[in-house]
Every structure is written in C-alpha cells, then in structure tokens.
Symmetry: C2
Subunit: 427 residues, 2 copies
C-alpha cells in the first residue's frame, strides 16, 4: 500500500518517538525530524530520562533490523526557516505530526529567558511550518500537538475547540474561551490561533490535538526491544505527574501532591496518544478546516491519582504515604471540570483506561532502572510560578536551573543519603 | 501636583507622540521611549509621513520652548531585555503606556519574515516589560494598546473583553472568544493573553485598550506648532482608511474601497485616543486586575465612511468618485457588527464624533502637504492576505516591499504623470 509520507516533527521526544514507531508499524512512510535540543535541555537542567535512550541513528537502525521498516531521519531545527522550507519543498508530505516544541510548563516559568525562548521557539517554528505548507504543500494535513491546558479550568463544560454561544438574542459558533496557566500553555494557545488563521486565509487543513497529561512508556512498538525505549521523565521540570508518582512509589517514597490536589485534568495512556494521532491521520479534515480534538480518555484530580497509586500498592501489601507540598503553581485547587472528549472515540479510539495493572507495570519498569533515579529531583518542585525557578526556591538568579556542578553533586549525594535512610525507615 | 512618572513606549509613533504631549500638558511627568524603528520601516517600504515630522530631540526641545514642560527621552528597543529591565528599575514608573509594537496588518502579511518579525517583536517586547514590572515595579499600571481587530466579526454583540457564558446549565465570566484577521492582530491577541496571565500569577495590573481605527492628526497639543506634528500615514501599508480617503479626496482621486465595503469597524478621532489613555491612566484598575476597554466612539462600514467623505465634499460642490477594488484581505464583507464601548464613556470620555468639519479639516491639512503625496501609494493595495506582498501583486518575492529603487522611481514618475492627468480631467 502506497501512502504519502508523514513527517514526525520532534521525533526524539517522549511522544514523537513512540508515534513514529507506531505509524511506521502501520505502514506509513515516516520521516523523523528533530533538533535534538531536548537532550541539551536535559544537560542544562541536570535531568535525564529514567530509561536510557539511544541516539536517533541507533534507534532507527535497530527498528529497521527488527522490523524491516525504514524511518528516515533528519536533524533540523524548525526555527531554521530555510531548512524547513527546503524540507517541505522536497518531501511534499501528505501529513505532518508536529510535536517539535518546548513542552514543559515549569521550564517556561523559570525566568524571563526561558519564557521568551519557549514562546519564540514554539511560535516561530510553527509559523515557519505554516508558510512552508502554504507555498509547497498546501494540501498537507498538519496534526499539531496542543494541550488541554489551553482551556484552563472554566466553570462550564469544556467543548472540543468551539462553543455555540447565544448572547443578546443572537448566536455564533466561536472558539472556546481560553485561559492557559503558564507561558508554555500560552505558547500553545498562540499557535492554535495562528494555525486557525492560516486555515482561514490560505485554506490549509489542520487538526489541533488538545492533549491531556500522558502516562506510561510502553507502546506495542516501543516494547519490542529495550533499545527502542522512549524517554521517561519523572523530575519536576519534565516529568508528568503519574509517572512521577510511580517513581516515588517504586522507591517507597511519599507521593508529593501540590497543594490540595483538587486540580483536575484529563489523562491518557501513551498507547492512546499514538492511536489518537493515527486516527487523526487516517481521517483528515477538509481542505481549509481547522478542527480540535480533546485528546484524553479519563479525568482525575491529582489527589485521586495519588490515591489510585496507593491502592495499587496496597493490593501488594505495600503502604504508600501521600504528602501535600505548597503548590508552586498558580491554579485553582478545587474547581468544576468536565471536558468533552468524544470526537476521537467517534473515530474508533479504544481507550486504555487507567488500572492497577498499568500502574504496577510502570512501577516495575521504574524498579528496573531505580539506580538511575536522582533523588534531588524527587524532593521539591524547583520552579515557582510567582518567583520563577531556583533549585532552592530562594531569590531569582540569572540562570536558576543549573547544569550539574560540584555543589549540586554534593547536595545530590546528601539527598541520596536521606533517601536511603527514608527507604530503610519505611521498610 | 506631584504625580509618579509615566513612560510612553513608542513615543515616536502616530499616537505615541500625540499621547506624550497630551499627558505632559496635563501635568504628567513623561518619559518617552522609542527604538525609532518605524522610521527605518518607512525607508524599507519607500513610504513616509505625509506631514513632515521632526526628530525626537527636536520635537522635545520645541515642546519645552513652547510650554516650559519637559518630556524626557530615551532611545531603547523593548526587545533589549537588559535595557528594559534597567529602565524600569531606575524609573520605577507609576504607569506605562505601551504603543511600542509593529502595528500594521499589511506589513505583517507581506511574507514569512515580516509575519515572524511582527509576532516576535511584539511578544518579546511585551514579555520583557512584564518581567521587568514583576521584578522592579509591581504596582505600576500597564496601559497596553490592543486592537478591536482581536475580536474579528462575530455574529453576536462584542463585549468589552469578557463575556458571561451560560452553557449546559452552568455559567462563567470568560475572555471573549477572539478571531483576529492578520498576523499583526494575532500578535495583539497573544499579548492580551500573556498580560492577563501575568496579572493572575504576579498580581500586575493592566488596562488593555482594544482600540478602533484612528483618524485625524490634530490634537490640542499637536496643533500648537507645525514642529510638533505627529506622523500622518495614508499609504496601503501604514495608513488608516479614513486618512487615506481624505488624501484621495484632497487630490480629487477616487476613494478606493476594498471589496464590497460592508466591513464594519469601530472608529475614533485621535483627540479621543489621547483622552482615553488619560482617562485610563487617571482611573487605574485594582492590583492584579486585567481589564479591557473598547476604545472607539462610532462604528461605520468602510462604504459608509467613503460616503461621508463624498458628502463632505459635495457640500462644497465637489464631486468624489468611489471605486471598489478587489479585496486584498480575507475578511467578511457583509456581517453583523455591534461592539460595546461604554466603559470609557462611564469614565467621562466626551467623544469627538465624525462630522463634515473634521473631514474638511483633514482634507485641508492634506492639501497643505499635497506635494508630498506619493501617487504610487494611492494606486492599489500592495499586500494580499493570500499571496503576501508585492508591489505588483504578482508572485511572491523574497523581499517584496522594496526600498526605493531606480525602477520604482520610474514607476513613480509615470504614476505622478497619470495622477496629474487624472486631476486635470476631474477639475
């Protein structure tokens, strides 16, 4: 079966890599693109994937060896307009899956340079892509990773992108009013508006996937071989909350809930992420259409999520403590939340709902790599929405998140000591 | 009376300069800031203000000589974060009026570099300012020039920034859904979201003035002396529509309406712009509050506006032709439009409504400078929303808006010839 080629932008990331494998496994001709900047940001933050990941050439070579399928690979920064234009002109892709953005809310809140970099990086990359599509692939389907965080937490039901509003006896279907909660989330909203506009004036077609918080790491394809692993982040900058809880549970540490924990969000299994992208790809919108899918399967409060992890552990006779930390974010900690997520179900999504089995399997995976856990990363969130980011929550510094230094190594050793002592006490 | 100092950002522009004079005349201690980039963009586009304007030092010196009042002046680019931070740290202003953005929709639609530059310039400048305020002047009142164009043309009444929405039996007051119509208008919307967020997390206070289309050039202060003139643009890139119609009428040329002319927008006299800014300044929002004022006094369709100019001329026995050009923009040409603009009236705004006298006075002003009119600029719009900008509406070029070249000078001479012939015929 010959299909047009699909470009996965941000292929070196947590979801980009898993998506590329999934689409390749389903017969799509995939070109993976990445600037590899995420690995540089790891070095800046002193963070790393819990699960070791191979280099792009190694991963692709292994995929080919194991499956006979080829994923093309090109190192390219979306902010390099000439290179983006040339890539689109040469490839003329049928579709592009766009993960290639700075995707951490805390990273964007560290300080001014990180906020500016996040918004400029994300907006310029997407604008470069939109112009390249206008000029060289106007029929291509742009599948853009947005976030449920664009909506914020309104006191009304959240619809999928648009809302029919009646006001003073008149009616219109309008973009859903948005209230994002970080400079990162704002960058995704800015993108959404730019993409919607490009659809209107240039007739481009796009699917904006407003994705919830992803957990897990094992898709069917990733699970084939350890060398195909995708990254797994658990630290306070890059980790998503359930993955962090699983790491804490695996080490017998308390689960750390920010504030009251009533913050409710949409969640989904990484296996559903890759399936959703494929469903969007296989069911493209009309030319000129801008559509939004809310991409998650269940909603939980953070507190309820911690409770689920505790229950899964209790089934094995293990006790798990839940502690509440001062909330580093500015957000409602108790609020109404009811977000629709029907469109992907209508296209055939079969959700993997969160159960004890998944939680256990993630915890087992973590235990396999427990020696790689950096205990400093589990102590406290290190970026505060009001004051910015410093390792110690003290006064703002020019470059608060620091590359591993001697001092940091000492703190790390001390934290490891405390961690071991804590684990001993709990056992 | 001692008041805290007020920083006018973008003081070299059409409205920035008039506002600085107005606030200075009303006893405010004003610091004017500008990068002077607008004068560079004029050189790039081959455009210029119809009314000659003096350099910043000359204008300020003249203002002091005529009134005894001092306006401080500093050349500074808002995209220079260190300089912005240092300025805010040293001045600790009571308020800042932020005009310092790329403010032309056609300029932003020329090509990718102009779109990217517009969004990056506007967002980064505003982000730099927000962080500087957080760190060094958290009580300052930020008065930001936004645009009515953020709303687009919804089929419901436009409220001032927020809308109470009932949906599935629940209710919330949410940001009004926005549908901007150019990369420039989008940049203003992105700013609005960033500023609103900064209010929520850092407790900053801001007034977002969603301004309509401004016309006229003579405020009480500008009118004191020709050397105090503010710029007056009539070309297709920088000119606002009524000012352009007045130039066309003054030269006996047809008024050029884009498309059907049913496009309806809010309009206001430049004297009301400066009054609105002063009213916002004198009535600051609470700490942490983000508020929106719709800043215009009347709404007209472009067609109706052309009709008003024609009527004003007819009163003097002069005939004015109205021609419809293919619309270079992508916008609804017949639509519902009813935008609220009550809040500034409630604060005491006394509107200068559009009458024949104003139109006549603008036309008289234009006639004084008729020799400076560049006829090429009145021929055709030179930026198309679908294809981007070229002088000749042909295929996209790398740098479509060109600095005056030999070829352009020849075209200009030929156009001047046609113009003279046309004027002769009409007289």
């Amino acid at each position: 079966m010959s299909r047009g080629s699909v470009v996965v932008l941000g292929v070196d990331g947590y979801l980009g890599w898993a998506t590329a494998l999934h689409l390749s496994a389903h017969g799509h001709q995939v070109l993976g693109i990445d600037s590899l900047v995420r690995r540089r940001w790891d070095r800046e933050c002193g963070t790393r994937s819990l699960i070791p990941i191979r280099s792009m050439p190694q991963r692709i070579k292994l995929w080919q060896k194991l499956t006979g399928r080829t994923i093309a690979w090109q190192r390219l920064d979306l902010c390099n307009a000439a290179a983006v234009t040339e890539m689109v002109r040469q490839v003329r892709p049928a579709a592009l899956i766009h993960f290639a953005e700075q995707r951490s809310a805390p990273f964007s809140m560290i300080d001014r340079p990180h906020a500016v970099m996040t918004q400029v990086n994300n907006l310029v990359g997407t604008l470069n892509l939109l112009f390249a599509l206008r000029d060289h692939a106007p029929n291509a389907h742009l599948i853009k990773l947005g976030t449920m965080g664009e909506y914020g937490t309104p006191n009304i039901d959240i619809e999928e992108g648009f809302l029919t509003i009646s006001h003073n006896g008149r009616q219109d279907r309008l973009p859903f009013p948005m209230q994002p909660g970080s400079f990162y989330h704002l960058s995704k909203l800015h993108d959404s508006h730019n993409i919607q506009f490009a659809g209107r004036v240039w007739g481009l077609r796009a699917t904006d996937l407003h994705q919830g918080v992803v957990y897990g790491s094992q898709t069917d394809e990733v699970a084939i071989h350890p060398g195909l692993a995708t990254r797994f982040d658990y630290d306070a900058i890059w980790g998503t909350v359930l993955n962090r809880f699983c790491v804490q549970a695996a080490l017998g540490l308390p689960l750390t809930v920010y504030g009251k924990g009533g913050q409710t969000r949409g969640f989904l299994d990484i296996r559903d992420t890759v399936a959703c992208v494929r469903l969007a790809l296989d069911n493209p919108p009309a030319q000129g259409e801008y559509r939004v899918f809310n991409q998650f399967t269940e909603q939980f409060s953070v507190k309820a999520l911690a409770g689920k992890v505790r229950e899964a552990r209790a089934a094995h006779g293990l006790e798990t403590e839940i502690v509440h930390l001062a909330n580093p974010r500015v957000e409602r900690e108790a609020h109404y939340y009811n977000a629709k997520h029907q469109k992907l179900l209508d296209l055939g999504l079969q959700p993997h709902l969160l159960g004890d089995t998944l939680i256990e399997s993630v915890i087992e995976l973590v235990q396999r790599y427990a020696g790689r856990v950096d205990p400093v990363e589990l102590e406290q969130p290190n970026v505060d929405w009001r004051r910015g980011g410093t390792a110690g929550w003290t006064k703002p510094l020019p470059r608060p998140v620091v590359v591993m230094s001697g001092a940091r190594r000492e703190r790390r050793a001390a934290a490891a000591e405390r961690l071991r002592a804590g684990i001993d006490q709990r056992r």
